[in-house]
């Protein structure tokens, strides 16, 4: 098996529904186990929500792309946006051991993605953020 699809998305969280439904169908077609599907869903949910909410602080309609490739060995999602520079690998790690009173409520999304995916790569190319998420399937 090997398939690759590129989706063009708007900077709006309402785009998530179609992406997650696409991922669900793709996992079914490729017999990807439920636990892996759940990790892929969560990772894409977090990254796409991030772009939709934070990449274009000036507002207005913008487009970005999500390319999903799956083969026998791995699932790869490449997200490319021309919004503000954001390197997920340099995003500060939340203080997970802090007591409740001192615990900050945000900042968990990117951290979760880095924990559940096999790798997260970042490149800044010609004014674009290019994030590549990989998950081994074997």
């Amino acid at each position: 098996m090997a398939e690759s699809t590129t989706l063009v998305l708007k900077n709006d969280v309402s785009e998530l529904e179609s992406v997650l439904s696409f991922v669900s169908d793709l996992c079914a077609r490729n017999s990807i186990p439920a636990e892996t599907e759940r990790d892929l869903t969560l990772a894409l949910d977090e990254m796409i929500t991030n772009v939709a909410q934070h990449a274009y602080p000036m507002g207005g309609e913008h487009h970005f792309t999500l390319q999903i490739t799956v083969n026998n060995e791995e699932f790869v999602a490449r997200i490319e946006d021309d919004g503000v520079e954001f390197n997920p690998n340099e995003h500060p790690i939340p203080d997970l051991g802090a007591p409740l009173e001192e615990r900050k409520v945000g900042g968990l999304g990117v951290y979760l993605v880095r924990q559940i995916m096999t790798s997260v790569e970042y490149q800044r190319v010609a004014g674009k953020n290019v994030v590549t998420l990989r998950k081994k399937l074997t």
Partner: protein, 112 residues
């Protein structure tokens, strides 16, 4: 997400169903604010019907825990499935919350 509510003795039981995401998280925080303002202090959140939690949901859970603690309340979470527990554990939240597998086991923790 949808919410269902019942009172069991002094315990206010809030059952959650669906996805605890941005929308579900807002719903949870709004309802918990009202519940605490109404004077409830022993609160059980039942996650048996929650299939999915993302970071927006975790953020809401943390907010709710802070609200509950600062009002002197007690909060117990029941029925988290394995994948939700995994997300909680990665986020270091399993040590912040009291979790029990079922609603009955959660109810047993509250003082009579």
């Amino acid at each position: 997400m949808t919410l269902s509510e019942e009172k069991n003795g002094k315990v206010f039981v809030l059952g959650l169903s669906g996805k605890l995401d941005i929308e579900g998280g807002k719903m949870l925080v709004d309802r918990m604010t009202q519940i605490l303002a109404g004077g409830e202090r022993q609160i059980l959140l039942d996650f048996t019907e929650i299939a999915y939690i993302n970071s927006s949901g975790l953020r809401a859970l943390l907010l709710v825990a802070k609200q509950s603690t600062s009002s002197g309340g007690m909060l117990v979470l029941a029925g988290m499935n394995d994948s939700n527990q995994k997300v909680l554990a990665i986020s270091g939240l399993n040590s912040i919350f009291t979790l029990r597998p079922t609603r009955a086991e959660s109810l047993a923790l509250f003082p009579q």
